[in-house]
Amino acid sequence: MPGGLIEDRVDPADAEERPEPSGAPEPARSRVSFVGVLGELLVTAGVLILLFLGWQLWWNDAIMASQQSDAASVLSSEWREQARAQHGDTPAPSPEGYGDPVVDTTAYGNGEAFAVMYVPRFGENSQRGIAEGIGLDVLNSFQLGVGHYPGTQMPGEVGNFAIASHRSAYGGGMHEIEQLQLGDGIFIQTRDGWYTYRFRDFEYVTPDTVDVLAPVPHRPDLQPTDRIITLTSCNPLYSTAERIIAYGVLESWQPISAGPPDEIAAQVAAWGE
């Protein structure tokens, strides 16, 4: 019959059992239509999807960002404590400076944290732990958030120290990456020291452009002479269609016992001590 969509009708006997006195049965309340239920389910599904996006992009993002920056500060202060225990307080720099940067040659396993990133341009509490590997166990971790591309160089090494992080959601370790300006400091702390990189330029590439990770970006055939850092994240914001690449060049190095560079001294000291 044409009204086949109406699956169920309240039996008139049921209607009479209702406590409120009702003369004629009210049609709008006494029938459950297939289309009506389907519509309600679809509206519910829409609301659930919006809720999930809100959870992913803001709620969970904020929780992860705060836990990641706390964990990074714990790492940072542990390494400073270790240095203080080993070498005593701040040594005076020699007139020639501290020489060539010390390069950590340890072969770190996947997920092992070996550095902390401080970028003042990224705002307060933007410090993040850097671990070996670019899997979700690192990038979506509540403790880490920034991953080091295996096979690329280490902080301070001649060549390319390449790292990746989320731009939106999961703590967004590089959420403000597009705000970097020429000369902005990108500070990397390891157990050995503080490496000061200066932001140089951006590049926007497709997700398969692995040449940006080469010791000399886009020229895998060349021998590197510079010590650079490469940050990769997704682009545009809230999309994964492209990658935003930020390059920086090593400016200076100082041992861990010399204390943090002046530009991040306040950010480093703001936690714990």
């Binding site: 992913q56 670019i134 990038l139 591309y149 731009r167 939106s168 959601a169 398969d208 994964t240």
Partner: protein
């Protein structure tokens, strides 16, 4: 569906609204605490690395 829920709830209108608000809060809490973290491990379209 929701009309049936409204009919099942006891009390005057303001009590029903209050009950609905409590139910909605409980549902959102359950989603945020258990369902979404689980779902997130299954649908994960956000990729930030350059890879071949």
């Amino acid at each position: 569906m929701y009309a049936a829920l409204w009919r099942i709830l006891p009390g005057p209108v303001w009590v029903r609204i209050l009950l609905l608000a409590v139910i909605a809060a409980a549902v959102v809490f359950a989603l945020f605490t258990w369902v979404f973290p689980w779902l997130d491990g299954i649908v994960n379209p956000i990729d930030v690395t350059v890879e071949q």
